[in-house]
Point group: C2
Chain length 409, copies 2
Amino acid sequence: MAVGQSHFPDMPPLEGVCLGTAMAGIKKAGRRDLVVIELPEGARVAGVFTRNAFCAAPVTVAREHLERCQAQGTAPRYLLINTGNANAGTGQTGLRDARQSCAELARLASVTEEAVLPFSTGVIGEPLPMSALLAGLPDALHNRASDDAAWKSAGEGILTTDTRPKGASVSVEIGSQQVTINGIAKGSGMIKPDMATMLGFVVTDAAIEQTLLERLLRETVDRSFNCITVDSDTSTNDACMLVATGRGASVSSEDEVAVFRNALQRVMTELAQAIIRDGEGATKFVTLQVNEAKNREEALAVAFTVAHSPLVKTALYASDANWGRILAAVGRAPVDEFDVERVVIDLDDVRLVENGGRAQGYSEEAGSAVMARDELTIRINLGRGEENATVWTSDLSHDYVSINADYRS
Amino acid sequence: MAVGQSHFPDMPPLEGVCLGTAMAGIKKAGRRDLVVIELPEGARVAGVFTRNAFCAAPVTVAREHLERCQAQGTAPRYLLINTGNANAGTGQTGLRDARQSCAELARLASVTEEAVLPFSTGVIGEPLPMSALLAGLPDALHNRASDDAAWKSAGEGILTTDTRPKGASVSVEIGSQQVTINGIAKGSGMIKPDMATMLGFVVTDAAIEQTLLERLLRETVDRSFNCITVDSDTSTNDACMLVATGRGASVSSEDEVAVFRNALQRVMTELAQAIIRDGEGATKFVTLQVNEAKNREEALAVAFTVAHSPLVKTALYASDANWGRILAAVGRAPVDEFDVERVVIDLDDVRLVENGGRAQGYSEEAGSAVMARDELTIRINLGRGEENATVWTSDLSHDYVSINADYRS
């Protein structure tokens, strides 16, 4: 299941950026499961990674290689992604396998080992099937291309339990030049990224200085991938990479940065929302908007408490306007000196809660009509300040349980 | 569904304690839904209540009445409990209804209004059906008794989605006298109590000074009801009351307190575990034991992070030894400077994780054999210190979703 229409957008080619895929048999026969993304020389690359203490081997190696490149004044040339196996919880063997994958691609492409950044997603705790992976590399390299179809194939080649590929593309004028940002992402379960996402790869042709690139990545991820949750589980493999090839317009003045940041935020948010729309077993796309909080942390805490409540999520699945569960979740959020009399809760345009109880004039029919929608907003006004936060989530359905009870079998 | 055998224990009568029930039609016709517990004069009563900011009207009124009694040097004489309606999120109307219920019982029993403490459980946000409740009071008062059957009927009369009544009874020798502690509890969903429980009523014939009684309640609840979770949702109505009638042995010396605390902890833990065994849709009773933490807060944080993970809970439901999900949940727990190389995870007697990855000698068969058990322990050694914590939880099944998607319909 998934909410809304599937739409993989047109992706304008980015000079020097080529994407290749292979069916290496890591996930299962006849499925794209290996992706190579070639970056032009001189591209700048920024990354954010999972904060899970049990981070996967490829996360450790990608961080190391990125740092080594930066120390040398060089830049990564290849992103190597496999699905079907997370190479997580695999100890020293996992690190060796991740490094060997990079070394082999480096040999085939005649670049240094640290110019390859590895990413993996899939089942945790199984050894990476190295012979299949290594055997697939020449094929993935060979068929690389820059066109629309190559972006879509790459989008397909990184999926796990996702039901469809996720892409976003925005072009804007900066100075007199067109700047393009293309992105692909995957993710469907184990989704509550923390300073990162599931896998996201975003590439622009703009020219952006490294420190600025890193800041823009952090800022836009904080308001997109870090504001989604399917099941509150932060993965061991989350990573989001932002690449600026430098072949296009320069982004450096305040105005240029503002226009670029805005476009980048659109790409990030669209990809993050696509993950929620394709959340495991999702039948609803729900926006949680918390307003009038004392600070953003408090707003996020209330939003995530509601978004993680199994009772709210099953009520959403049942299209049951069981506002008592929303109220109970808000009431247990970690907020100091919480005056519940000031809290106002709306379901889209229907007022649900005010003055500590059910709103006057609320009718079950009006509430149920909103809950029956595929996409709806729960708006919670705390009446304590001026900060706000928006979080996106899905419901908790029978299919979520089925997918996760059967995933390995 | 529920895990293990149903067993409502024999409850020795406690002098002066009478329990009466009625089928008032608050929940549905032909179901016990109204309970009155009479306490003898001079009993001491301690209570802990939900920390949910949206606490229900009966919680507010029970607190007020308890404080007023204590200020006057008197004590509550009646506990009045209804199921079928939580009287939560009902604003001023709810407070008026809770007070009126107490006033009517007080009139019938010739006691003061503050000598009645009200408790409600059931659907949130609907007005309390006052005419049914008030009409049921004479019947509940009339049929009150002290015997075993009265305790069991009271246990049945406080249930919501529970599938069976929950009771515990322990007798110990203190000095040369037998002291008895009887308790009943309800709870099945919306279970992650915070400084309290769902509803729990525990009565002893011991004579215990008020301050000591309050401390014993807090200490034993902290290691029982506050260490269970079905779905991480803290209810608006949680309350646990401890009554000491004073008709039996005095508990005041250090030795007496130690023996009594131990017995009380057994009753509290048995009731708390009974709630988990009867957790909504539960097919497994899971003990999470976190050892070698720096402090108890850290141990609890790790235990609850694993216990709340929908991915761990669905793997438990599927009897799938998907230890990667356990490892990922441990890794995202809020622990500073977490050295994952030191973490050891066992499933009962099978070592799962060590040195940052799958344990040497672990086999899928051994793991699956443990996961197939109805009752199992996940033991997580952090290797950081000497503190520990134990938390009990259930799995996440199709039935959990069905029960909560259909609850109001």
